[in-house]
Symmetry: C2
Subunit: 421 residues, 2 copies
C-alpha cells in the first residue's frame, strides 16, 4: 500500500461537474488500496473574483487581510471536494493549511514553508479517510496569522506535505498530458516525455516551461520525492520527475527538449564607461527596485572608445520600473542611453547528456543559423543553451532545434525530454 | 473608555459600498475613544450561494464539510471589512471564530458555545486595533473541527464575546430602527421602543418577533449584558434590552407591545380516548420526529363520549413530518383523525406590568371580540397572552390590541414595548 499525494489546480475543480470528476479519480486511487492526500486550489476564477472585491474596498489591501480573504477560495473548493467524495461512499475530511500543519514565515502573500506537522492528516489516513488539504496557504509560526505562499503555492504545498508524510509519489494534475519535447502548438511532432530529472525540470521551468514552478521542483529535489505531472482529463501516465534515470532505457538521452519564453524583455545600456564598478552601479539600481534579472551580456569594449554596451533580460511587466530606476542613475553611472525592447523571445535547449557531449553547441548554432534566425544574446549552463532572438523568429528557432536534435521523428525510442506550454 | 461589541448582519455588508459605510460607522465609534470588537455575518446571499454549490455536489452534504464550506462566507466579509477600516487609517485585524476563541460543541450546523477564550482579541485591543470577528462559527472543543452555530448564530457570537470581554454594551445592527410596539407595516402608528427587559424580549422573540433570536437574548440575560438593537442605516438610538428599567421613567408600563406570527400551523387530533396516557403517546410520537411544539390545548371531554380533541401549533414546515408521525400511531393511540390547518395566525400581547394588573386579560378578550375575531386557541404566561385565530383575521386582531392598550396614540410618554417585524 502506497501513500499518494495528488494536487489539483483551479481549472480541474472549476465547477461542480469537474469537482465530481476529480472525486471519482481520487476514489479510484483509494480503491486501489493507496492512502490518498489531496491538495486543491481555489475553484477557477475564485481568486481573481476575491482580489477584485478587495480592490473595490481599498486600493492597497493590507497583506494579512488579503491572505485571510484569498484563503476562503481553497476553503470552498476543498469542502466541496470532500462532499463529492462522501457522495461516492468514501470518508473524506478537508483541512485548512493551518489544520494540516503547514507552518510558514509571516511574509503575507509570499510566505515560505518552514515546517510541516501533518499530525491530523496522519490520523485521518490511519482512520481510513482521504485527507483534502487547502493548497497555497499556511499559518505563520510567530504571529499565528493565516498566510499565502504566492505563485505556485499549491504545488509547493503538495510537495511539502508529500515530503513530510514520506509519500511514495506526488502527482501534480494539470490540463496537459505532462511534459513534451517542445510545445506541441509550435512543434506538431513534439513527443510526450516519460521521465526527466529534477535538474532538467528546473532548467525547463527557468526557461519558460509553465507546468511546474521552480520552487516546488526545488523542494522535491531536496526531499528526493518523485513527482508525476499528468492530466486530470485523461488516464495517460504523464511525466515522472525524479533524481535519476534508473529503471528506464540504458541509453542516456543527449537532449531532453526545447523550451521557449515570450514573457521577457531586453534592456540595453548604451556606452557604459569600461571601468571597474560601472556594472555594479547599474545592477545595484535594478536590484534596489526588486527586479529579477535573467540573462546578462556585456560586449568587449569597442576598441579605442573606452565604452561598452550591457544588455539584460527581465520580465516584461518589470520594464517600466527598471527603466525608471536606470534613468535615475544615468548621470552618476556615466552611460549614454537605455533602450527597452519587448519584442524578444528566448529559445533554450536542455539536456543532462550535454555535459559529456561538446558537439552540442556547434550543432545548436548551426541549426539556428541555417534557419536564418539572428542571435542577440547567448547564455549557457552545464545542461542548457539559451539564445535571445526577435520574437517573430522564436517559433522558427524552436522548430529548427527540435528537428536538428531529432526530438520528434518516428523513432520508438523513449526520448527523455520536455518543455512547457 | 468603553468596550463596545458591534454586530452587523449580512444585509449590512452585502456589497463593497455597504462594507465601506459600515467601516465608517466603526471608525466613528473608535474615534470616540471606545475599544471596538465587530462581529460580522457573511455578505448578503453568500451563504445561500454556498449552500447551492453544495447541493450541486451532493444531496446530503456531511455536516463537518458543510460547516467548512459555509464558514468561508464570514471569512470573506470580515477580511473585506478589515481592509475598508485600514483604508480609513485605522488598524483592524480579522479573526475566525476559532482564532477568536469561540469554543463549541461538535454538533455541526447547530453547535453550542461552551467557552470563549478571547486572548487574541484582547491583545489586538490592547495594541489599539479594532478586532473583526467572524460570526456564526467556532471550533469544536473535542475534534478541533470548524463548526457553525445555526440560526441566529452571529447574534450569539456577538453576545458571547461581549460577555467574555466584559463589554459595556453589545450593539446588534439590523435593517430596522429597533423594536416597535407592533409591526409598523400592520399598525401605522406603532412607536419605537426605547428600552425593554430581557424577559419581555424573550417573550417577543418566542411570539414571532424576528429581530433578535431567543438564544442570544438568553445568553445576554445570563450575563446581564445590555443589548442595543439599532439600524445600520440611521443614527437613531434604537432599543436597549436590559435586566431592569432603572434610569427610565418611574412609571412601569403596563404593556410593552403586540407581536404576531404567521409561521405556524395547527394540528388537531380528533376524538382522543379520554384516559391516562393518551396524550403521552401522541406527543411521544411528535417528539421522536424532533418537532418543536408551541401551544397545546386540550378540551374537556365531550360529555358521555369519553373522547376529547387535542390541538397544538408547530412550525408550518414541520407539518408533513408531524402528520406522518401521528398517522403511524393512530391505531395504537386510538384516536379518530388528524387535521392539519396552515391558515392560522397568532397574536400576542406582552408586558411585564401584566403581572400585577389582573384586568389585562378581560380587556384583551373584549378587544378581540369587538373586532369580530374568533379565537381558536389561547395560551398565557406571566407576562404574555396569546391567541390563535384565522390568518386573515390576524392584522385586525393586532390593530385591535394595539389600540385597546393605547400603545400608539400621540402621547409623549415613553412606552416600554416592542414587537418584531
Amino acid at each position: 500500500m502506497a501513500l499518494v499525494v495528488q494536487k489539483y489546480g483551479g481549472s480541474s475543480v472549476a465547477d461542480a461537474e469537474r469537482i465530481k470528476r476529480v472525486a471519482e479519480r481520487i476514489v479510484t486511487a483509494r480503491k486501489s488500496g493507496d492512502d490518498v492526500v489531496v491538495v486543491v486550489s481555489a475553484m477557477g476564477d475564485t481568486t481573481d473574483e476575491l482580489t477584485d472585491l478587495a480592490s473595490q474596498v481599498t486600493p492597497v489591501p493590507p497583506g494579512r487581510e488579503l491572505d485571510m480573504l484569498l484563503t476562503a477560495g481553497e476553503r470552498i473548493s476543498m469542502a466541496l471536494l470532500a462532499m463529492a467524495i462522501h457522495n461516492l461512499g468514501y470518508e473524506a475530511r478537508s483541512y485548512t493549511g493551518s489544520q494540516a500543519g503547514v507552518i510558514t514565515t509571516s511574509s503575507h502573500g509570499r510566505a515560505k514553508i518552514i515546517d510541516v506537522t501533518p499530525g491530523r492528516l496522519r490520523s485521518a489516513l490511519d482512520e481510513g479517510a482521504i485527507a483534502i488539504v487547502a493548497g497555497f496557504q499556511g499559518v505563520a509560526q510567530d504571529t499565528k496569522d493565516i498566510t499565502t505562499l504566492g505563485r505556485g503555492g499549491s504545488d509547493t504545498t503538495a510537495v511539502a506535505l508529500a515530503a513530510a508524510l514520506h509519500a511514495d509519489v506526488c502527482e501534480i494534475y494539470t490540463d496537459v498530458d505532462g511534459i513534451y519535447t517542445a510545445d506541441p502548438r509550435i512543434v506538431p511532432n513534439a513527443r510526450p516525455v516519460e521521465q526527466i530529472t529534477y535538474e532538467e525540470m528546473l532548467e525547463l521551468a527557468a526557461s519558460g516551461a509553465k507546468i511546474l514552478h521552480l520552487r516546488s521542483v526545488e523542494y522535491a529535489r531536496r526531499s528526493n520525492l518523485p513527482l508525476r505531472v499528468r492530466s486530470s482529463y485523461s488516464q495517460k501516465a504523464g511525466t515522472l520527475v525524479t533524481g535519476s534515470m534508473e529503471g528506464l532505457s540504458m541509453e542516456q538521452a543527449l537532449i531532453t527538449g526545447v523550451a521557449h519564453d515570450r514573457s521577457e524583455a531586453k534592456i540595453t545600456i548604451v556606452a557604459v564607461p569600461d571601468e571597474p564598478g560601472a556594472a555594479g552601479q547599474i545592477f545595484d539600481a535594478v536590484a534596489a527596485a526588486e527586479i529579477n534579472i535573467d540573462m546578462i551580456v556585456q560586449n568587449v569594449s569597442t576598441e579605442g572608445t573606452g565604452h561598452t554596451d550591457i544588455s539584460f533580460t527581465l520580465p516584461k511587466g518589470d520594464g517600466p520600473t527598471a527603466m525608471a530606476a536606470l534613468n535615475r542613475v544615468k548621470a552618476k553611472a556615466g552611460f549614454k542611453d537605455v533602450l527597452f525592447d519587448d519584442h524578444v523571445g528566448k529559445a533554450s535547449l536542455i539536456g543532462a547528456g550535454m555535459r559529456s557531449h561538446p558537439g552540442v553547441a556547434a550543432k545548436f548554432f548551426a541549426a539556428i543559423g541555417a534557419a536564418g534566425v539572428n542571435i542577440e544574446m547567448i547564455s549557457t549552463s552545464e545542461i542548457r543553451i539559451s539564445v535571445v532572438c526577435r520574437d517573430n523568429d522564436l517559433d522558427v528557432a524552436v522548430r529548427a532545434l527540435h528537428d536538428a536534435f531529432e526530438l520528434g521523428g518516428d523513432e520508438e525510442a523513449v526520448v527523455y525530454a520536455g518543455t512547457g506550454r
